[in-house]
């Protein structure tokens, strides 16, 4: 983060322009860049989505397999969200273990899905305590130009809504066979994350890379289709007043409906 340099001139310009209620690329403060989502474009994964949010480009793949359940939930399936910062996506990203921000990205997207209880995990058990279905959601960043959380959250939702889950049969001997039949994954909720950034005294949505570098802090709020909140995450070395937090929640509720319409278009 700190070794990514945005020049002081540009920094000042961004702050000044935002203070007048405009953005460097001509957008309004609360306007998203063009969002394009293509679903089911990969044959080998059960669900997939390609998200283009301005120049930010993310591919989300959903794979379903068989694995061991956790000790405390022998009959519940397992969902895992992982984020990959690929070195092709940005000059400062390197191959190697995931950086802290990638861990946070995966955990924030995961928290939104999990808290909304998007999938009924109790229906994914196969053999109690031995085998359950595993759902892997992999967030693959191919080009980074800011606002990864929102892009990945929309991508994960779009990919999960179009996932064709294979049907498994358990024989009396305890053998698990994958049948040719598939069934659409049943989702119980449609949570979507919206990130609101604070630059000076202004609140903006969908920051570009430069705006993210300049921002003071951000709050990510995940909202479901009923307007309930599922997850919040505040970042940045800055405080928010209660009023600002309430404003952020209002913005997120409004924007999530707008983005959700695009994310669910492929359903």
């Amino acid at each position: 983060m700190s070794n990514n340099i945005v020049s002081r001139l540009k920094r000042k310009k961004i702050v000044d322009v935002v203070a007048t209620g405009k953005r460097m690329d001509g957008r309004e403060l609360l306007q998203y860049r063009d969002l394009e989502i293509k679903t089911n474009f990969l044959a080998k994964s059960e669900g997939s989505a390609e998200v283009k949010l301005g120049k930010t480009h993310v591919v989300v793949g959903v794979k379903i397999g068989i694995g061991h359940p956790f000790e405390d939930t022998p009959d519940a399936g397992v969902m895992m969200v992982n984020a990959e910062y690929t070195p092709v996506a940005h000059p400062t990203w390197e191959p190697g273990p995931p950086p802290k921000d990638a861990i946070e990205l995966a955990r924030v997207v995961d928290r939104g899905l999990r808290a909304a209880e998007i999938i009924d995990m109790s229906k994914l058990g196969l053999i109690s305590g031995v085998k359950v279905q595993m759902i892997f959601v992999d967030l693959y960043v191919l080009n980074y130009d800011g606002n990864l959380i929102d892009a990945c959250s929309a991508g994960a939702l779009a990919a999960l809504t179009t996932t064709e889950a294979p049907e498994y049969k358990v024989s009396k001997k305890g053998e698990i066979k994958k049948t040719d039949k598939t069934e659409k994954l049943k989702l119980r909720a449609h949570p979507l994350a919206v990130t609101v950034c604070k630059i000076g005294d202004s609140l903006i949505v969908d920051p570009t890379y430069d705006e993210e570098e300049v921002k003071d802090g951000r709050i990510t709020i995940t909202v479901d289709e009923n307007g309930n909140l599922n997850a919040i995450q505040k970042r940045g070395p800055v405080g928010f007043t209660l009023d600002e937090i309430k404003k952020c929640i209002n913005i997120a509720s409004e924007k999530s409906a707008e983005i959700k319409a695009i994310a669910l278009a492929g359903e």
Binding site: E104, N228, L242, S253
Partner: protein, 267 residues
């Protein structure tokens, strides 16, 4: 997690005369808190906190030279928090290697505490805050922040304010303050908050669960009230140590043998 929630609510509904919390507390009552400062002789500052059955120790080293040097900033210091759970702090035993959760909490803790410091005073330096969870009982990240703030003050590092932290949440339909382990795991939602009382700013805000917008806002307000109570306890803990040094200084003339002890305490 969802499974246990269901089991619990059905069992409890039958005996629903007057709602009480699992441990008999009032909805807006904190668990007993005990904070002691200056508990690690080697550290520049330290604090031990018991918040309910949480047992957490925090130590501060620095400001000191940053290693590796390439991570240092030429214009300001860096705050580096490390949250770590002992393998025996939870059941079942956990691996001592830092988990993804630990890394995320370390990040949000840093963000929560940094607004209280004057990092621009320490170019090329680092302030290390190490937090070890010896026993976990729900709300460890909040208790850690409370201990870390006292430890930083104990280290003599100038601060704009202490950082106080406390969670609120929803359990069986009621909004409650300072969730215990059981309420945390089986409740509907959890909202950890950190707060700078003098600036009236929220520096840590997370949320997980399902709540309406109104409930979430009420929860944040409830947590802020809790933080204000904790703030007083933190101040007491510091006064207990440094108030004592002052008192002995006044009676300095009387017993001469005690002098070396006093000097040690003063440091």
């Amino acid at each position: 997690m969802s499974k246990t929630t269901k089991k619990k609510t059905t069992k409890r509904k039958t005996s629903k005369k007057k709602w009480t919390r699992v441990d008999g507390r009032k909805p807006d009552e904190l668990r007993p808190i005990h904070i002691e400062s200056g508990v690690i002789p080697n550290a520049d500052g330290s604090a031990y906190i018991e918040m309910g059955r949480n047992k957490i120790i925090a130590g501060v080293y620095g400001p000191r030279e940053m290693h590796p040097k390439r991570f240092s900033k030429p214009n300001m210091g860096i705050l580096r928090c490390r949250y770590h759970m002992a393998p025996f702090s939870v059941d079942p035993r956990r691996s001592p290697a830092p988990s993804r959760r630990d890394k995320e909490i370390s990040m949000v803790m840093t963000d929560a505490i940094e607004p209280a410091l004057f990092l621009e005073r320490y170019p090329r330096s680092v302030i290390d805050v190490f937090v070890e969870i010896i026993e976990a009982d729900g709300g460890t990240r909040c208790a850690s922040i409370n201990a870390a703030a006292v430890a930083l003050a104990d280290a003599g590092i100038p601060m704009k304010d202490l950082v106080s932290s406390c969670a609120s949440g929803k359990y069986e339909g009621n909004l409650i303050l300072d969730l215990g382990d059981y309420e945390d795991k089986n409740g509907e939602s959890d909202v950890p908050v950190a707060y700078l009382p003098k600036n009236d700013q929220v520096t840590l805000l997370q949320m997980e669960g399902i709540m309406t917008q109104d409930e979430t806002e009420k929860c944040i307000e409830l947590a802020i009230e809790g933080c204000k109570q904790i703030y007083e306890i933190q101040k007491e803990a510091l006064k207990k140590k440094y108030g004592m040094v002052e008192a002995t200084e006044e009676t300095e003339e009387a017993p001469e043998e005690e002098e070396p002890v006093e000097e040690a305490e003063e440091e």
